[in-house]
């Protein structure tokens, strides 16, 4: 049973000068699923992420996001093609980065509070005048942030500086911060990079927990095959900017095309 895609690309291509990073990629993420994107280094996975989140404008092709409307109405289809990253986030995509990008000199809680930016309305006037509305909003967001941290295991570290956290917790914080933006699609770029086996296991649990509690779709780029096999429902494989396989984890694992891509010609 397939559900409608929350996001899909059609004919997506991206070239940098002479280098073709993405080549006619037709890709989709089923709503509510945990989907993995794998492939050897340089396959274009992060480039795909960057196109989806507005960091690079695509050279060709379309990116379409489905947003539900009221009952009985068909979903709204929005093109993400030439939007800025902050606009894309406002539409419901959140991401983490290959190299952790936390706000290092701010506390854990402040990192999450910044994630709440799109949920808040206060502007310059509200900030300066400290209106009742602004104060209520601040308090609500602080509550929300602390609870989000506690929900996913970092409540005790709320007032620590982000840069002082151990590596595994930093990754976790980046994910929680992304959740704070209230996404419908969470993109994780190599979340297991640098984690040991125990930490990867915890990550596995975290991903499942998030999908269960937050009612969103998850797309992850990953090299750790154990994690991919364990947690994902569908796997897409890229090589040299092209999609070469897609399917259930077991299928893809045994696909000779995929094996060849990773191991090279025999």
């Amino acid at each position: 049973m397939t559900r409608p895609p929350i996001i899909e690309t059609r004919g997506l291509s991206k070239t940098f000068g002479g280098l073709v990073a993405l080549d006619e990629v037709d890709f989709q993420v089923e709503e509510g699923s945990i989907t993995a994107l794998i492939g050897p280094n340089g396959a274009g996975k992060t480039t795909l992420f960057n196109c989806l989140t507005g960091i690079y404008p695509p050279t060709r092709g379309h990116i379409v996001l489905r947003r539900p409307r009221g009952a009985g109405e068909p979903p709204l289809k929005t093109a993400l093609n030439n939007l800025r990253p902050d606009q894309v986030t406002a539409l419901g995509l959140a991401r983490t980065f290959q190299n952790i990008r936390l706000f290092n000199n701010l506390t854990v809680l402040e990192n999450v509070l910044i994630g709440c930016h799109t949920r808040m309305k206060a502007g310059l006037w509200g900030a300066l005048m400290r209106t009742r509305q602004t104060r209520a909003e601040e308090r609500a967001m602080a509550e929300f942030s602390i609870e989000l941290l506690e929900k996913y295991g970092l409540g005790a570290a709320a007032n620590d500086l982000a840069k002082n956290l151990p590596y595994g917790d930093q990754r976790r914080l980046e994910i929680i911060r992304a959740l704070a933006t209230g996404p419908r699609l969470l993109l994780l770029d190599e979340p297991a990079a640098g984690l040991n086996i125990a930490e990867t296991g915890a990550l596995d649990d975290l991903i499942r927990l998030i999908r269960e509690r937050e009612n969103l779709s998850i797309l992850l780029i990953e090299h750790d095959m154990n994690l991919v096999m364990s947690v994902s429902e569908k796997v897409w494989v890229m090589e040299y900017g092209r999609l070469i396989a897609a399917g259930a984890p077991e299928e893809v694992k045994n696909d000779p095309v995929v094996i060849r891509a990773y191991l090279g010609e025999e």
Binding site: T46, I55, F97, Q98
Partner: protein, 300 residues
Amino acid sequence: MELFLDLLISGLTKGSIYALIALGYTMVYGIVGLINFAHGEIYMIGAFIALIASLALSQAGLAGWGLLVSVAAAAVVYSAMYGWTVEKIAYKPLRGSSRLSPLISAIGMSIFLQNYVQLLQSPNFLTFPSLVPELGFLAPVSHIVNSTQLFIWLATALIMTALTVLIKFTRLGLSMRAVSQDPDMARLSGVNIDRVISSTFVIGSALAAVGGLLIGCYMRQIDFYIGFLAGMKAFTAAVLGGIGSIPGAVLGALVLGFAESFAAGFISSDYEDAVAFVLLIVILIARPGGLMGAAQTQKV
């Protein structure tokens, strides 16, 4: 037509001197990511040392090319020493801290050196001798181009070539390029980072010293403040060409030299100093990386 030629020549001359200073800025920036505000002062100190050396050595009997070469040697050696010392005192202890701390330290050093020279010598303008001997073969065109100007162009061109050879073909040059691209990897590959950084400062300072000597011969006067203005403009030139790029620094300097010359000639000399900055703003708006700067793609 003659005006045009005059402006062209003065533009080329000024541009050459800016290039000598700009190289120091761009090399240091490429390696440690620091705007070396004190670099202009090294240039000024080079000029002062040159002046003192020329007075002392001419009393000792030297003249002509011998005098010029000895004075240049003195200026270069001393400026290199100053550059080396400034790096050790004001920048090395701050390696690794935020961008702004070394900047403030650099500015402090600049203020210190300006006043240091002013107090030790004089707050007024001092006359600088013309050290470049007259070249006989230039006599027929001496009203257009004089020996000093020709010497400046040739010296600058020679130094550029030498620098390019150094960067491209020597071990030090290779190390410098490595450190500017990836300091950690360079260190792991066995490059002595401290020595590379010191060498960069030393080379940049030596170039600035030559610039100071040449500006003295050209303008025939110096004071303790010349470093500040020339420094700012040379840095602007380096940014114009794309900071961190050596050919960019030269290109930017020449563009600036010509632009200033023509603006002073055709518009007004009051705003000559503003040309540098207006040019900078215009070019950076069109090309945010500078003329030869790489396209600003960041790995995400």
